[in-house]
């Protein structure tokens, strides 16, 4: 008894956990070949993220960037977490620590570099200025602190010294 191939159910999305799996139960992620094959994956991912940022603007406000920017952050997070989930990257949320915005992804299945680049691209397409993400691994979650490039450089330097998120924020805020 043999059966023909059936495409139904081959891919399964779980938006809540942001996981994409095949029928064979292995986890998958969506990454375009331009990013996978790039020598500088982060830069390629940033360019890819910029495209998604523009797509979010188009979808959320008909291309009116200022209309989206004037919305509350809770409006935007639906798009960001939706995109992250549909790519199979995990479940995302945004945290606001005082002035600092932090994107948190739970159960991220890929390298921080690609995720950093992608988030940077989305955010800077909305911010209108360069944004860099500094990642902090905390068990099942990865936090991406969004900063300007200079501050991100300081944060990366402090991170290499072993400083944690709070200590780095103290340094950046001059406390």
């Amino acid at each position: 008894m043999t059966e023909p191939f059936k495409p139904e159910g081959f891919l399964k999305f779980e938006l809540g956990s942001g996981e994409l799996a095949s029928r064979a139960q292995e986890r998958l992620v969506c990454i375009p070949p331009d990013v996978l094959n790039a020598d500088d994956a982060r830069t390629a991912a940033r360019e890819w993220g910029q495209l998604h940022g523009l797509s979010i603007v188009q979808e959320s406000s008909g291309g009116d960037l200022e209309a989206l920017r004037s919305q509350g952050i809770d409006f935007f997070v639906q798009y960001l977490s939706g995109v992250i989930a549909m790519l199979g990257w995990g479940s995302a949320r945004i945290e606001s620590w005082g002035p600092a915005l932090v994107v948190v992804i739970r159960s991220l299945p890929l390298s921080h570099e690609i995720a950093c680049g992608f988030i940077e691209g989305i955010m800077e397409s909305l911010a209108g200025e360069s944004i860099r993400a500094v990642s902090f691994d905390s068990g099942e979650e990865v936090r991406f602190l969004l900063l300007n490039p200079d501050a991100a450089q300081v944060a990366e330097s402090e991170k290499k010294k072993g400083s944690g998120f709070v200590q780095i924020m103290d340094v950046l805020l001059g406390v």
Binding site: K12, G16, L68, Q71, D74, Q78, G82, V102, F136, R143
Partner: protein, 239 residues
């Protein structure tokens, strides 16, 4: 001779006074007690949905009642031991009293007050990178508190001695303020941080369009533009 319960009540009262005095000093100096708010403001999507992407109708099938998925949003640390280590009164606990009580109550309500200069991040450990680093951070903070406040709280079971030490600590705190260098720097550079963060939540309508905007959409201090500008300005010197 005071009973154990009476001693404990008095100690808690003393600690409350210590905490209150520190807050008053922070208010008088205009210096935020901490640079980071008590908890992060979280923006999350609690909905749990499942899509059979390959199906022709692309129908969205809920896989579960998603209300209980929220705990994954409020991510508690995997390791509950480290916050307990921050409780400086641990040595004076009544031996008969059940220790789990320390971790059962909300840390913001009860145990935040137990630290002389509590940083709830330590207790909620939301931003701790990993367990090992979290312990390191806690130890650093305690050491910093001792050096800054100029007090070494004796950790011993002698409750009368501890009460005496607490009285001394109260006196020290009444007379001392934070180092001038730190206070002036923080007052000049640290942005204002609300003592209690607002929490915003939104949901994804799995059919596509956003069903409803919740929270404070459109309020000036929480717009995407404002928050992006804020985070991009971190570390820049004021002009």
């Amino acid at each position: 001779m005071l009973s154990t319960e009476e001693q404990k009540a008095k100690l808690e009262d003393l600690l409350e006074r210590v905490q209150r005095n520190r807050r008053q000093m922070a208010d008088r100096s205009g210096t935020p007690a901490e640079a980071i708010p008590l908890e992060p403001t979280r923006f999350s999507t609690p909905e749990v949905e499942e899509i059979e992407a390959a199906s022709t109708d692309k129908e969205l099938i809920p896989i579960d009642d998603h209300e209980e998925e929220l705990p994954t949003v409020v991510a508690l640390p995997d390791n509950d031991d480290a916050p307990v280590e921050t409780l400086e009164l641990e040595p004076v606990m009544d031996e008969d009293e059940e220790e789990p009580e320390l971790s059962e109550a909300p840390p913001e309500e009860d145990y935040g007050d137990l630290e002389l200069d509590s940083e709830p991040e330590i207790e909620t450990s939301d931003l701790v990178e990993d367990d090992e680093e979290m312990e390191t951070y806690v130890i650093d903070e305690v050491e910093e508190e001792e050096s800054e406040a100029g007090c070494d709280l004796p950790m011993r079971d002698d409750s009368s001695g501890l009460k005496s030490a607490l009285h001394d600590e109260i006196s020290n705190l009444m007379d001392q303020s934070e180092p001038a260098s730190r206070k002036s720097t923080a007052a000049a550079a640290a942005p204002e941080i609300p003592p209690e963060p607002a929490v915003f939540e939104s949901s994804i309508d799995a059919d596509g369009p956003v069903a409803e905007i919740s929270g404070s959409a459109g309020s000036s201090s929480n717009t995407l533009a404002y928050l992006l500008a804020q985070t991009a300005a971190i570390g820049r010197k004021p002009r």
